[in-house]
């Protein structure tokens, strides 16, 4: 075949028939959607008014969204304007929240609605950072901001859940996820500012944000089932989690062991898991991310049970405890258990008396095991052959006749 003839044949390909009925009905549907777009409707209204009254040039609503016009009107009143810098303890604070609600209501697009919700949530954290430390001890002030924070995040997640595939791809998922991580960090820092006076309140707040973040990730994972374009974002989230985990691990002493229930060395435990997760993120992020979230949360909860003073103690060991500079052994945290902040010092007392070391625990388990098997003489032999361990003789042995 000659080249010219071939090119002629190739050019004829564009003349293959198309379904014109479909194109016509699709156009009808498309135009119906477009003409019903709130942005187009409002624009038309304004266009009519402007032409009829002043013959002025139509301004673009794309540049001036409807909510800005209303907020501008609201802010033209001195009170609303003045409220914009208010903090949760200020009387004008509710006015500020009202203007935000207006902005939320008059944002019509789901992607932007989510953006506005996350923006407002971020403002709550910034406000708390600017609030005086002594005021942060007031649960009312704290709750005012934190409850609103959570409402806004949940609202943002709600809009994300309602989005279609195309809309979801436009959401800056990683940015929102990082903001949530940063918020948790900020809450922890604020908790330190208050000298533990409201330790439970802050702990609950950080835990709530953690739950909300899991809910956010869950929503994105659900969306990822329908659109693979979200996978890179999920991989980034997974890598961010690993990074956070690695940073937290770095801050722990080398041997941070939770004795109860399973003698976990938190540092080693995390290091091992991080290696496994890193390897599997690339190809299996949808499966791995929920597991990673769960593991990290469980691990963080265990770390949270460690009173901060235990770290200090591990750096300055005394003659009476068994800690070295790079280890800290935690049995339990009475503050968590009783909810009483006055119990904050109790772990220190327990730690100083050093009830039992991992080696002693292993010894105790071995002896009890022999007793359970009915081998009491074996248990006795074991005790006699480990005189150093005898000091921590299991209480259960008191009732045993050797």
């Amino acid at each position: 075949m000659k080249t010219n003839k071939l090119e002629k044949e190739l050019k004829s390909l564009k003349n293959l028939p198309v379904d014109h009925n479909f194109l016509a009905s699709n156009k009808e549907q498309l135009l119906k959607t477009i003409y019903n777009d709130p942005l187009v409707k409002v624009k038309k209204e304004i266009s009519k008014t402007k032409h009829a009254s002043f013959g002025m040039q139509i301004f673009s609503l794309k540049a001036v969204p409807a909510f800005l016009i209303i907020i501008a009107l609201l802010l033209s009143t001195g009170t609303a304007y003045a409220s914009q810098d208010s903090l949760p303890n200020d009387t004008l604070y509710p006015v500020k929240l009202l203007t935000e609600r207006v902005e939320q209501v008059f944002t019509f697009d789901k992607v932007k609605k989510a953006e506005v919700a996350f923006k407002h949530a971020q403002k709550r954290i910034d406000e708390l950072k600017r609030t005086k430390p002594e005021l942060l001890k007031d649960p009312k002030i704290l709750n005012r901001a934190l409850e609103n924070y959570e409402d806004k995040i949940n609202l943002g997640i709600k809009y994300i859940k309602r989005m279609n595939d195309v809309e979801t791809t436009l959401v800056p998922i990683n940015r929102y996820d990082r903001e949530l991580t940063d918020s948790r960090k900020s809450i922890k820092e604020l908790s330190e500012k208050t000298n533990y006076q409201e330790v439970n309140l802050y702990r609950d707040a950080a835990s709530d944000i953690k739950d909300t973040q899991s809910e956010f990730v869950k929503a994105i994972l659900d969306k990822a089932k329908d659109t693979s374009s979200l996978l890179p974002a999920l991989e980034e989230i997974a890598n961010d989690r690993i990074q956070v985990w690695e940073n937290e691990v770095k801050e722990l002493p080398a041997k941070t062991i939770i004795i109860e229930p399973n003698k976990i060395n938190l540092k080693e435990d995390a290091e091992e898991k991080i290696i496994i997760f890193k390897e599997r993120i690339i190809n299996e992020v949808e499966t791995i991310l929920p597991i990673l979230e769960k593991e990290l949360n469980t691990w963080s909860n265990n770390v949270d049970k460690i009173p901060t003073h235990a770290y200090t103690e591990s750096i300055k060991p005394t003659k009476t405890n068994t800690f070295t500079s790079d280890e800290v052994i935690i049995k339990s945290d009475p503050v968590i258990e009783t909810g009483n902040v006055e119990d904050i010092d109790k772990p220190r007392q327990k730690a100083n008396s050093a009830d039992i070391t991992p080696e002693q625990q292993a010894f105790k388990d071995e002896v009890l095991d022999l007793i359970k098997k009915g081998d009491t003489s074996g248990a006795l032999d074991l005790i006699n052959s480990n005189p150093g361990m005898g000091d921590e003789k299991p209480s259960e042995l008191n009732n045993i006749q050797f």
């Binding site: 075949m1 080249t3 071939l6 090119e7 044949e9 190739l10 050019k11 004829s12 390909l13 564009k14 003349n15 293959l16 028939p17 198309v18 379904d19 479909f22 194109l23 699709n26 156009k27 549907q29 498309l30 135009l31 959607t33 477009i34 003409y35 777009d37 942005l39 187009v40 624009k43 673009s60 609503l61 794309k62 540049a63 697009d109 992607v111 932007k112 595939d165 195309v166 809309e167 436009l170 329908d226 659109t227 693979s228 374009s229």
Partner: protein, 182 residues
């Protein structure tokens, strides 16, 4: 017949200012092209209709987010391309580089194309020969002859220079000719 008109700057300005009538005009100019773009690459009428519809909705959605389009043709083809890639990624069993190869490759695809061109044996033969080419060759032939784009337009979509594309097309036609001769 595919319209070869290009969007004039005045119409583009109206589209950018969210004028529904202007957008409707752009639809008239490009819907057929986009339809064919998907038809040749998916061999499925149902999928073609779905993706064509999504392409224009996504274009509108982009506009209403304070964005402006500089070049409508490359913009609309870029959306179409992304949607197609996204669609195949979703179907994990089909890899990205199989996109073009799929065109007349499956039995179903062949049936549809056969039905479509059953009165024209030369076109049928031509498509089966094109199918023997590699991905890049098929792509340039599709853009140039099926989508009826000039080199500038293809350049905006592929990121390759018009000169390089010209050479590429020339080589693709040459290779197609060799297949014919063999």
């Amino acid at each position: 017949m595919t319209k070869t008109l290009k969007i004039k700057p005045s119409l583009l300005a109206k589209i950018n200012s969210l004028d529904p009538d202007a957008f409707s005009e752009a639809y008239d100019m490009y819907s057929e092209k986009i339809y064919k773009y998907f038809y040749f690459r998916t061999s499925s009428q149902e999928l073609t209709e779905d993706l064509t519809s999504q392409t224009f909705l996504k274009a509108w959605d982009y506009l209403r987010r304070d964005n402006n389009i500089d070049h409508f043709a490359s913009f609309i083809y870029r959306i179409a391309h992304n949607l197609l890639v996204d669609h195949y990624r979703k179907k994990k069993e089909i890899h990205d580089d199989e996109l073009m190869a799929r065109m007349p490759d499956t039995k179903q695809g062949k049936d549809i194309i056969n039905e479509m061109i059953d009165r024209d044996i030369s076109k049928k033969e031509l498509l089966s020969k094109i199918d023997e080419l590699n991905h890049d060759d098929k792509e340039i032939l599709m853009y140039r002859y099926v989508d009826d784009m000039d080199f500038k337009e293809i350049s905006k979509i592929t990121g390759k220079t018009p000169d390089a594309l010209y050479v590429k097309l020339h080589r693709a036609v040459k290779r197609l000719k060799i297949i014919y001769e063999n």
